[in-house]
Structures are given as structure tokens and as C-alpha cells.
Symmetry: C3
Subunit: 456 residues, 3 copies
């Protein structure tokens, strides 16, 4: 059968890419800030200078987000001793496809010009497409090493679609705010991935167990991913928030939250071992939880100490998750989570949604100023009479929608991915680049007979 004989990946890549070209031809055009008519638009809108083009407000943040998507997520997953190519390579593939599909899906919901039926794109569209892709890469973390690239493409196709719908419901219909995507990106993406991993549970995965784990250098490679995610997270959370104080505040809050997370992650990691030694898995992952959890509230007046508290708690919870919850989920819930996304994205994402709801509900004109309140929460147009307490409720509703879409969507897509047509690896060849890549054996593989090297 075609799909089994290794020809399905090229077929999917070609057909879907051609479909993208056709759909882009029909639907996608430049928006007024990236179109050559900008000079006329400027004159007619009394814009005094080119520097007012949204490009200059957002492009540096876009580039940081872009680094997070490709180097951050890609290298974070290189920690497995024999799956670094798959980590960084398939991350590259699904992000490359996902961002095109996201421009279309998000465009249909958010940027369709009623005048001509076209989607108008600009720098903010690129950021949003990268955001959307992030949710699929998070999901990839749960199934890393266990699925074929074709399955990943299918997962991304449906993931982006579901994302665009839930994003539209949460941001536009429910009018929740979610600048850094704690709910929309992280909660959705993580539960989507976990549900798929649950559906694809392999009872005999222990045949590949000796390949789950890192070697010295692969852990250092993974730290490249960790650090680029950590450093650029302030850009992630501020990339699409309001010009001026919104972006400024989102960056500060995220910077602080992440700093606090580092200390508590390290503390719990050391406490968890009798010897007091640190575990690289925690340093690589749990240190990022503060960025996830501050996502929704980053642009609110969370206050610097509020950000520290969020980071403090998430470092603890996320590290404890790696120690207790991941093994529990694998053993009792039949959910194998390769990268521990439940600890890094799911729990912190939910916390982020709750923090956002509370912060919104507690907002007041005293703290924000009248105009500031309206601006920050976008109490304009048909929402102009909204109260902060109501907004808190809407935030909570948004979190529920993200959860439902993640779990429900993941179960459905997981069922599709269980069909025996996708060419996934047998149970004894998971976490192994040799299945999908031309490789030279790494030197350490000569030492791992009997696994005396692998298990400490």
C-alpha cells in the first residue's frame, strides 16, 4: 500500500503544499501596511511617519517568537539520545506547513476583508500563525518519537483547524483576553497532544525504553532550546498585546515570572533526590512554566510581585509534575508523555487561565485609569459596558473552551491516527532516528549494549 511504502510523506507534502498555493492565490493578499499603496494610506489617514507602520512595533517580537518556534521547540526536544534529527527536523516540517495553514484558517476567522473577500496579512498575522503552530508543536512533545511524520502532518492539519475555531470562540465570541496564549495556545495544545497520546497508547513501548533518555551532549543541545524559549518568552507574551504600555508591561511581567521559576524549579529538583543532585529534565522544562502561566495576565496590571508569585508556584508545580504526575499518568492513565508537556504546558496553562480570570475580575479604574481599563480589556464597541468582574467570568469560560477543544479534538484526531495506514514505527523502534533518517551511528551507541550506560 502506498502509505506504507514510504511514499506517503512526499505525497502529503506535495499535495498539501499545492493546495496551499491555490488557496493563497484565491484568498491571501497584503494588508494596507504591507501593500505598495501604504504611501497613499498614510496620507489619507494622517500617519506622520513610516515608523508608525505596525511592522516597527511588532517585527522584533515576531523574530523572537520565530526563534522560539524553530530553535526553541526544536532543540528542546533534542534531549533524546537517538531522536535529535526527528526532534529538530519534524519540528521544522510541521511548523513550515502549519504556519501556512494557520494564515488561512485564522484569516478566515479574523482578517477577512468584507469588501473583497480576501484575507489581508501583515506582521501580526505572521505572529499569530507562529502562535498557532506553537500549539501543535506542544502537542508534538507528547508523542515525540512514537509517531510518523505523516501522522504529525495530519495532527497539525487538524490542530491548526481546531485552534483557529477555539481562538475565534474564546477571543471574539466570548471576548476573553489572552495575549500570551495560556489558554488558547498552551492549554489547548497540551491537552490536544495528551489526548492523542492517550489514544495512541502503546502497551509494549518498553521495548524501546532503553532509548528514552539522554546522553551528555544531547542534554546540552536541549539547553539551547530551553534558553531560547526562556529568553524570548517576554517577546512571546508581548508580541500581540497593545502598542505602548501593553507590550511594555507584558514583557516585564514575563521576565519576572520566569526568573522566579528558575529558583523554585532548581530547589524542588534538588529536594527530590536523596543526594540533592539536580536533574537536567527539570532545568530544561520546569524553568519555563512561569512563562506559560503568566501568558494571559501578562498585559494586565498583575504587578511585579504578582508575576513573581505566579512564577514561584509554577516552578514548584511543574517540577513536582515531572517527579510524580508523569510516571502516574503513564502507569495508571495509559498516557505516555515523552516531553512532559503536562507539566510544562497543561498545568501551567490552566493556572495561567485562572490567574488571568482573577486578575481581570479584580481590575479597577483606580489601578488602570478609566482609559487604561477600557484599553487593556478592550471594553469598546458592543463590550463597552462590560465590568471587570464579568470579564473574569468570560476569562474562565474561555479556559473551559480551550480544555474542551483540546481534549475533544485530541480524542477524535487520535482515533484517526490509530488507523493502520500511517506508517508509524513498531514498538521496538520508537525514539529511533534510523527509521526515518539516513544516519551514521553515534559513537555512544557502541556502549549501550545491555544498557549499562543508559540506566544509572
Amino acid at each position: 500500500m502506498l502509505l506504507r511504502e514510504g511514499r506517503s510523506l512526499p505525497a502529503v507534502c506535495f499535495v498539501w503544499q499545492i493546495a496551499m498555493i491555490i488557496l493563497f492565490g484565491i484568498f491571501i493578499r497584503y494588508n494596507e501596511e504591507s501593500d505598495a499603496h501604504w504611501i497613499e494610506h498614510k496620507t489619507s489617514n494622517n500617519i506622520s511617519s513610516n515608523i508608525e507602520n505596525d511592522f516597527y512595533f511588532r517585527y522584533p517580537s515576531f523574530q523572537d517568537v520565530h526563534v522560539m518556534i524553530f530553535v526553541g521547540f526544536g532543540f528542546l526536544m533534542t534531549f533524546l539520545k537517538r531522536y535529535s534529527f526527528g526532534a529538530v527536523g519534524f519540528n521544522f516540517l510541521i511548523a513550515g506547513f502549519g504556519l501556512q495553514w494557520a494564515l488561512l484558517m485564522q484569516g478566515w476567522f479574523h482578517s477577512l476583508d468584507p469588501m473583497d473577500g480576501k484575507i489581508k496579512i501583515g506582521v501580526e498575522s505572521m505572529i499569530n500563525a507562529d502562535f498557532c503552530v506553537a500549539s501543535c508543536l506542544i502537542a508534538y512533545g507528547a508523542v515525540l518519537g512514537k509517531v510518523s511524520p505523516v501522522q504529525l502532518m495530519v495532527m497539525t492539519l487538524f490542530g491548526v483547524t481546531l485552534y483557529a475555531v477555539e481562538e475565534y470562540i474564546i477571543l471574539s465570541l466570548i471576548h476573553a483576553r489572552d495575549a500570551g496564549g495560556s489558554m488558547v495556545i498552551h492549554t489547548f495544545g497540551a491537552y490536544y497532544g495528551l489526548s492523542i497520546s492517550w489514544m495512541l497508547y502503546r502497551p509494549n513501548l518498553d521495548q524501546s525504553k532503553h532509548r528514552i533518555g539522554s546522553v551528555y551532549h544531547s542534554d546540552v543541545f536541549a539547553m539551547i532550546g530551553t534558553l531560547f524559549l526562556w529568553m524570548f518568552w517576554p517577546s512571546f507574551n508581548s508580541a500581540i498585546s497593545d502598542h505602548g504600555d501593553g507590550q511594555h508591561r507584558a514583557a516585564i511581567n514575563t521576565y519576572l515570572s520566569l526568573a522566579a521559576t528558575v529558583l523554585t524549579s532548581i530547589a524542588i529538583s534538588s529536594l527530590s533526590q536523596k543526594t540533592g543532585k539536580l536533574d537536567m529534565v527539570h532545568i530544561q522544562n520546569a524553568t519555563l512554566a512561569g512563562g506559560v502561566a503568566v501568558g494571559t495576565a501578562a498585559e494586565f496590571m498583575l504587578m511585579p510581585y504578582g508575576s513573581l508569585i505566579v512564577g514561584f508556584c509554577c516552578g514548584i508545580i511543574s517540577t513536582l509534575g515531572y517527579i510524580y504526575i508523569t510516571p502516574f499518568m503513564e502507569k495508571y492513565l495509559k498516557i505516555h508523555d515523552t516531553c512532559g508537556i503536562h507539566n510544562l504546558h497543561a498545568m501551567p496553562g490552566v493556572i495561567g487561565g485562572i490567574v488571568g480570570a482573577i486578575t481581570a475580575a479584580a481590575a479597577s479604574k483606580g489601578v488602570y485609569g478609566t482609559e487604561g481599563l477600557a484599553n487593556t480589556f478592550d471594553f469598546m464597541g458592543k463590550w463597552k459596558d462590560m465590568m471587570p468582574t464579568q470579564q473574569g467570568g468570560h476569562q474562565a469560560a474561555g479556559l473551559c473552551v480551550a480544555l474542551c477543544f483540546g481534549i475533544g479534538g485530541g480524542i477524535i484526531v487520535g482515533c484517526i491516527l490509530r488507523l493502520p495506514i500511517w506508517g508509524d514505527a513498531p514498538d521496538n523502534s520508537c525514539f529511533d532516528d534510523d527509521i526515518y533518517w539516513e544516519t551514521v551511528k553515534p559513537c555512544w551507541s557502541y556502549f549501550s549494549e545491555g544498557d549499562f550506560l543508559v540506566f544509572q
Copy 2:
């Protein structure tokens, strides 16, 4: 003889650096935006705010380009199992020298102040110097592992000189547009390097053949280079394009083109193997071809789908190049191309020139607006009556100039580099850091006797 005894490199470095200091002392000054008189300039030109300083329009892009030059090109070439030091170290050396010489050469042609005979530099000069260096680093890719650092310095000295002349002819005399340098940087640089490699052909290179190839970790290192090039290419193509919509559009077009390239590169890579497995060489290199090919037209109204089409085609052509053309060139044309720059830069560069010519010729006031057309193609001053179709012809002429300079210059410089005074490695010591670096043997080298590890 001095040059042979390992003292030529320090001599070249010292003498050339002193020459740079003297020439900078005579010629180079700050321009009005980086000079302390800026505050007066601002007042006399009615500039309302410091944010209008060109620094804020271009500095983020400059830094991205800078990363591409040093980390992007440097790490992309670390894939060889025993030449990572040379890849990243000599890249560092020639870029460090080249950018100084480029500031002078480009300055003489483009930024000489007729009032005082000085070159005035600013952020755009730094970007242009980095661009110029890029062409020499591309050329380095063809001869990687086969030349001495002194030869690289000579190659860079002449390369920068040739670049400045061809750039002046193409951009100023012929009035072609080339924001992302498909012609000026990539076509020129690639053919320059290939011609040099042709002149320096080593019939007995198979004595070093066991060192051509990667190991597991060196391929992951190379992916760092790939990804930073890929991610920051939108900045590369938009760095010196027009403020406002020009930069905005160039970034979007490049972003899209590169995304499409990823899918088709992976598709062809998989198709090329009976097993359907992927080859890291293609992922590392061919995925970048879309950025090269969209360089010239990036600031034009290429349209989003146009960018996708360009990327689609280049991913295919570039990957096929690695599979068929590189071996062909080595066997029949006596051109050994270590990094495959013919597939990554030469062919996509020429395609980029052609795409630029077609897009320019097809431009119309309907699509660009009257002012937009004049702005985008710089139909001002003595070119104010130019028609788009004419511009298309000028673009094509520019491509020819780049080709001629690349091939002609490469042959001449190649002849110079054949002189037996440069201390290059013997045929059995190519691709080996031990010749130029104090090294500790990497562990995998203990396994490669008889090359059973190296060849799959």
C-alpha cells in the same frame, strides 16, 4: 619560506589590520545620524523625534543579519565530522576582516561625501558590509576544508573588491533593484566560489574522502546554522528595503517562500531514497533555497502565493541538485563543491534574478499605485520616466553582470590561489582540523578505522 612555515597567517592578519586602521583614519567618519551633531541635524531637518533615526528602522534587522553571518554560515558548515573548528573559526576570521574592507570598498562607491571626501557610515553601511561578507562566506562553502586560512583571506580580499564593483554596476549604473541580493550576493558569491574550486581542483582528493561526511552530533550542530539562517532570512531580505511597506512586504514574502521550501525539500529528499528516508544534507541546505530565490523580488508585489510558488520550485530544484548535480559536477566538470553551494546559492540565486525581472516587468500602476510604483522601483531623478518593462530588462542585465563577475573573478582569483605559496593542506589532510588547530581527538575517531563507521 615564510609563508610555508606557518607564519604567513599572523603576518597577513597584522599587516591587513594595520592597513584597515590607516584607511579608516583617512576615509571613514560617522554619518549625520550617528554623529553627535544629530541633534542639530534633527532641528534643521524638522525631524520630530529620535525614533526617526534610521537606527530604529534597521537595527533589529541588522542584528538578525549579523547572526546569520556568524552563527548561520559558521554553524551550517560544522557538519563535517572533523572540520567544525575550521568551519566556525575561519568563518569568523574572514567575516571579521571582510566587513572592514567592505565598509571601505562599498563606501568609496556609494557613500563618499563629495564635500570632504570622507565615507559616512551608519547602520545601513553595517548591513551592507555584512551582506558583502555573505558573498565571500558562500564562496567559502565551495572550498571548505581544502584551502588554508591565508588563501581564505586572499579570497575575501578580492571577493569584497569584486563585490563592491559589481554591486555598483548593478544597483547604481544599471539601476536594477536587489533588496535581498539574489543576484548581487548569492549568484555572484556562489559562482565566485565554484570557479575558485574549479581552479583549485585536486585530482587526488579521495585520499581525504573518509573525512567528507558527518557524525550524528555534527549534523545537529549544523542544524543550528540552518535554523538561524532560515528564521532570520526575512530580516535579511527586508534589512535595506524601503521604510514602511517595503520592509514589511519583504519580510512576509520571505517568510512564505521559506515555508514552502521546507515541504518540497523534505518531499524530494524522501523520494530520492528507496527506503523513503530523509537525508540531513537536504534538510540543512535545500530548505533555505526559497530565501535566496525570493531575494530580488521580496520587496515587489510578488503576492503571497507568488512567494509560495517560488519556494515550492526552489525546494525541488535545490534538493535535486544535491542528488544529481553535485556528483555530476565533481565527476565531469572537476568542480568539487563541499557544501553544495551550487544548489543552495547559485541556482536559486539565478532563479531569484529571473523572478525579479519578471515581477518587475509585470508591475503596473494598478497594483502598486502611482506613488507606490515610483517608490518601490525608485523611478526618481534621472530614472523617473522608466517603465516597468524596461526595469525588467535592467534586472536581467544585472543578473548577467553578477554571473560574469562571479565566474570571471573566480577564475582569476583561483589562478592566484594556485601559486604554491599559500600553505594549503596536502591532499590526504583535507577536511581535517588537525592541520590548523590544536585539537583533542574526538571520541568517534577511534571507531573510524577502516571507515566502517563512516560509510553507511
Copy 3:
């Protein structure tokens, strides 16, 4: 005892982080550009656009500085064959703590709002906190592999405190200028670290000597650190200099100085070996000296050739330092300097201070313009009658203060760190990740019996 049993690190992390939260709660608030009242502030100050928010002047530079702190310093120190986890991990820990403490300490001295007794933070505060942390990471370089994480935390606590005081004295009381921190950051940080290393001298360190040194891949990892430091140094030196020409000029000067350093470092490295081979240690470190040495004068009218001269000299001095001074200091002065920070930060820092003093003293209205002179040197308020020659004297005084604080502070903190309660590694377990990290043995370790692999 608690501290010895591996529970001191979690205790320190928790207690100090809780202290941070409390202090932030009491003292730290958003400044007017990151507060939701920005919209009202804008109106009342006639600020025409959100783009005038300081965020857009400084955020791209901030992100570059952030990368230098975490990836730059972190990976630069991964060169040791068995201490890469400690290098990048403890760097992460102390930077995460240090930046919080720095926001408080610097805030008390520089940004305390007299109206409400609160510290108001914004993007410039984050940059300054990162700067402050840099001085502690420099100090870490001297003691890398020889101290426990708790000692590092103590060192950072005192280091940040001392930094904030000396910075206040140098910048505010003495009115010296130091945009890139040659004195405030590098001179102080390096002598602080060297003095601590002197106090902690281990006579029997040769028991761990076989672990001092690199392997092939660890040198390539270290180059990641080197290059990100090198590339983003222009952002470092320009991050907090004046809007407009100040930032622009600082970036240009640093760019040029670093380029010159590359050539002379490589020249001296090659000259120092009979074989003419290059040493990776020099390429990784000495190439950065030009960025340090141009720090103070970067925003002055140093002139492009002046920057090249500074870089030229520092490349030579720094490389010679690695060859002659580091071994001398270890043998005769009992100062073991793991990363050679004396060559990379101390000497170039002092040179930078001197260059700054000379450049300031030589400033004239002819070169700067009347307004430019006042702006560049901040001759305003009570300093409005200051002469450039006087300023030169103040710069020199600033350098002395940095030296005194570094050496004096380091001796005192070193004494504290000698207390036998900190759980540092025994002499035969230095430079070894196994003490503090759960590790899998790297494959090359199987070859190092008898150290035949390690010593060349």
C-alpha cells in the same frame, strides 16, 4: 549539618525567592511607560505616538543583552569536558536570582520615586539588571568548577549589592559615563571574581587537573557562547546610551572594535605556537576583548579608526594574557582563573576605562557640537559647567572606584566563602558535573583512563 547534606541549595532558593516576593511587593511598581496610565501620561506630556514609548527604543537591545547573559555567558563556559551542565545550569540559576535582586538594589539607588517611596521599573531597568548580573557571571568565570551552587548564590547576593553601590558612586556621584560598562561591569566583575578565586585558592587542585580542558564537541558548544556574545555586543554597549545618535554610534564603534580584535587574536594565537596552529581558547575568549574595551567610550566620538585601534590592541593583549599571564598568576600569585577572565574582562576593562577617560578629556565643541557635547556627557543640571578635561578626570576616578570595589569586595566575600559550611567539592572532584547533577557518563570518558586522550 543542614548545609552539608545537600539541602542548603533548596533552602537558599526558597528563602531568597520568598524574600524577593515580599520586597517586590513593598517596593516595586511599573513606571509611567509600562503602567496602564500611560495613555493619560501620553496626553499630558504631548507624546504623539505609542512608538515614543521607551520600550521601542530599547527592547530589541534588551533582548540581545538577555541572550548574551543566558546563552552567551552560559555556553562560553561549557568548554570544560565534564562541566557543561554546571556551566550553563548554574549560570542560569545565578542570573535568575541576580536579576531580581539587581532590580531592587539598583532601584533603591536610581529609580526610587520620592512621591511614594516605590521603585518604578521599565525596560531600562531590565537592561540594567541584566548588566548587573553580567558582572557576577564574569566573576563566576574565575571560579568555574571549584565552588558549589550555594557559594555562587552568596557570591551573587554580595556581588549585586556591591555593584549597585559602586555603580551609584561612579555614575551618579562622580558623574562618570560608562554606557557599555567597561569599568562598572567588567573591571569590577573581573577583579571581584579574581579576588574570590585568590581567597579560595586550592593548593591541591592538580588532583582535578585532568578535567581542566575541553573535548572536540565542548569547544564547538563554547563557540555558540562566543558568537552570541560577539554578535550582540553592539547591542550591549548601545542598550542604555542616549536615544538617537548615542545608540547608533555605540553600535558602530563596538562593531568595528570587535572586528579588529578577531584578526589580532588569531594572529597572536598562531604566533604563540611553534607549529603556527590556532588555539580554540583564544578564539573563544580573546576575540571578545574589543567589545569590553570599547564599552566606556562607545557612545563618545571615538571615531571608527579609534575603535579599530582599541580592538587591535586588546586582541593582542588578551591573547598574550592567556599565554603568559594566566599561568603566571596561577603559579606565583595563587590565583586560579578557570575561564581566564583576567584576560577577557579585567585587562580590557581597565583599558576601556582609560580609553574612556582620554576620549572624554579630548572632547571638544568642534567635534561634538555644543548641544551634542552637553548631551553626550550629560553636562546638565549641576554639572552644566563641567569641562571635558574635568570629565576625563572623573572617568579616571570612576575606574579607581571600580577596581577598589572589585578587589576589596572580592576579598571580603572570599573570606565568607572560605567558611567550611558551603558544601563545595573536594579537590579531586572539581570541574565535575557528577557532584551536583544526575548524569550519564559521556562516551569519551571511557577513553580517558590514564589521560592519554586528555593531554595532547
